[in-house]
């Protein structure tokens, strides 16, 4: 009998074939009406795009690689800024019940705001569409990291803190040698949630501000009524999102420990 992973893989491929087959048939069926391009057209388009991903023929005609690179760059910039702020603040909140209480109302009010609601304000204050997108990424990725860090730090087992105390570690040593590694898996979970949200939000943000990036690209291709390009971009957004998540999952495995 075949192994479970092998059987699952075969099933996966079969599903893909059925899905693509049905799609192709539906597209080629006789009748009127607007049609999305079928898999065969899409495949040809993908080959063409991926063979020159970085071409640059003016502001409205750039390769998908360049557009994705813009988006990834913005996500990483906003996300890194958020991490630099959220993790230290989360640490303080987690270690100090007073700060936790003091900051909690702000977090509760700011957290549910859709990141795009910040966009007009950001555009007005920053006066730069690229930087405004980065700000929106920053504001949406800060909360999961902040909350998870605070939670992870606050729930470090009393035993570990006692070990630090009986070994006369300073506050700083306790934070870096005991609390940080103990809370790291929870912090990484927050970072993983954040990168996912960032990637969701960047597409919308770039649709709004335009110029460059994969979100703008999708919208632009829609305006050009180039649906093969739209569908291809959607797939690429999925693939990059998956890769970002995979990266963080790897990092998470590095700091994971069995209790």
């Amino acid at each position: 009998m075949w192994s479970l992973p092998l059987r699952a893989a075969i099933l996966s491929v079969l599903l893909l074939a059925v899905l693509l087959g049905a799609w192709e048939l539906a597209v080629q069926a006789p009748g009127a009406g607007a049609r999305v391009p079928g898999p065969s057209k899409l495949f040809a388009h993908a080959v063409q795009e991926l063979s020159h991903p970085f071409y640059d023929a003016g502001p409205n005609d750039k390769g998908i690689g360049i557009q994705l690179a813009y988006s990834i760059g913005r996500v990483l910039a906003g996300y890194s800024l958020a991490a630099l702020l959220a993790i230290p603040i989360g640490f303080v909140i987690g270690m100090s019940p007073m700060w936790q209480r003091a900051l909690d109302p702000y977090i509760q009010v700011l957290k549910p705001i859709s990141p795009l609601a910040w966009m007009p304000l950001a555009l007005y204050v920053i006066k730069d569409s690229g930087a405004s997108s980065i700000f929106v990424i920053f504001i949406c990725s800060i909360w999961p990291m902040l909350i998870n860090t605070a939670f992870g730090v606050a729930s470090v087992r009393r035993d570990y803190i006692n070990v630090a105390r009986t070994h006369e570690l300073s506050r700083f040593e306790t934070a870096t040698q005991v609390i940080l590694p103990a809370a790291a898996p929870t912090i990484l979970t927050g970072m993983r949630i954040s990168i996912g949200i960032s990637w969701l939000v960047i597409v919308a943000a770039e649709m709004l501000v335009g110029g460059t990036g994969i979100g703008y690209y999708v919208w632009n291709e829609w305006n050009n009524l180039n649906l093969a390009s739209v569908i291809f971009s959607i797939l690429m957004i999925g693939v990059i999102g998956m890769l970002l998540d995979l990266l963080l999952a790897r990092a998470q495995r590095l700091v994971q420990y069995a209790d």
Binding site: D159, Y160, N162, V163, R165, T166, H167, E168, L169, E173, Q177, V178, P181, A182, A184, V255, Y257, A258, D259
Partner: protein, 299 residues
């Protein structure tokens, strides 16, 4: 006892009661002393505050009243001079067995070189028979091995006082026996001063020079200090054949079963003022009729 290394004086722990309720006194008037190099066990029923006393000695907890004086200075907080072995090993799970020890050694002697630290840590890991398990994480070790790493870590920092809170409570009987013997062996080599909580009468007799007996809470006290006058080195297999073993054992069990209850709630027999300090008892002499029987009468 003028040569006391550790003195516990009138220690008490009270919890403020609810609105009109009376304050709860877990223990009060706890007095005892430990000499340098002495192995002292404390036995008492759950809830008498043994663990709180140990945590106060460690500096992790504070008493409501009274003082702990070690080496002429009052204990005010945790210190590397007092090593602690907790019931649940409390190793850092993201560090390997060896790293758990080097972490402690480094904290103890920050000026040591990496080589010195490693060598010292390896030696103590070897002492508990864990050579070859250096790189394993706590989750990859058995319960007994984990507790051994905890013992190695505590001995490695060579504290002036070692505190153990039921270190073998979570182990199965076989493992427990093996580790007890290892502990005796290491103790014979180091003559570390030890204060240990246990529930196990046989364990206390095997390990201790003296056993402190606590009455039941609330208002628990250390009622007796029982001398374990059996020759060392002791071994698990032979100690039960020592003359006097059963005299001691019966005395301890009798206290746990009967007198710990009778003396509970701060009940004072005749000679009440003397009972603030534990009565010193040598069951072997008592059995031989060499010590006057001045058993405290309950009520």
């Amino acid at each position: 006892m003028t040569d006391s290394f550790l003195k516990v004086e009138n220690l008490a722990r009270r919890y403020p009661g609810s609105k009109d309720g009376e304050a709860l006194t877990v223990f009060d008037q706890v007095n005892f002393a430990i000499r340098k190099g002495e192995f002292v066990c404390i036995i008492g029923h759950s809830g008498c505050g043994k663990s709180t006393i140990l945590n106060v000695l460690a500096g992790l907890d504070q008493a409501s009243d009274g003082a702990v004086i070690m080496d002429g200075r009052e204990v005010a907080g945790p210190s590397l001079d007092r090593g602690v072995i907790f019931q649940n090993h409390s190793l850092l799970p993201w560090k390997s067995a060896l790293k758990n020890i080097t972490f402690a050694v480094q904290a103890r002697w920050p000026q040591w070189s990496k080589m010195q630290v490693l060598e010292h840590a390896r030696r103590y890991l070897g002492l508990v028979g864990l050579k070859g398990a250096e790189d394993r994480k706590p989750a990859q070790l058995s319960g007994g091995m984990r507790q051994r790493v905890g013992i190695a870590r505590a001995f490695a920092i060579q504290p002036k006082l070692l505190l153990m809170d039921e270190p073998f409570g979570a182990l199965d009987a076989l493992t427990r026996g093996m580790i007890q013997e290892e502990l005796i062996r290491i103790w014979e080599q180091t003559h570390q001063t030890v204060f240990m909580i246990t529930h196990d009468v046989d364990e206390a007799i095997l390990l201790a020079d003296r056993v402190l007996l606590m009455t039941n809470g609330p208002q628990a006290r250390v009622a007796e200090s029982v001398l374990i006058d059996l020759p060392r080195p002791r071994e698990r297999s032979t100690i039960i054949h020592q003359p006097g073993y059963y005299a001691i054992r019966n005395h301890l069990v009798d206290f746990l079963v009967r007198r710990s209850k009778e003396l509970a709630g701060g009940a004072r027999g005749p000679g009440a003022e003397a009972s603030a300090h534990p009565r010193e008892v040598n069951p072997i002499a008592l059995a031989a009729g060499r010590q006057p029987v001045d058993r405290v009468q309950a009520n």
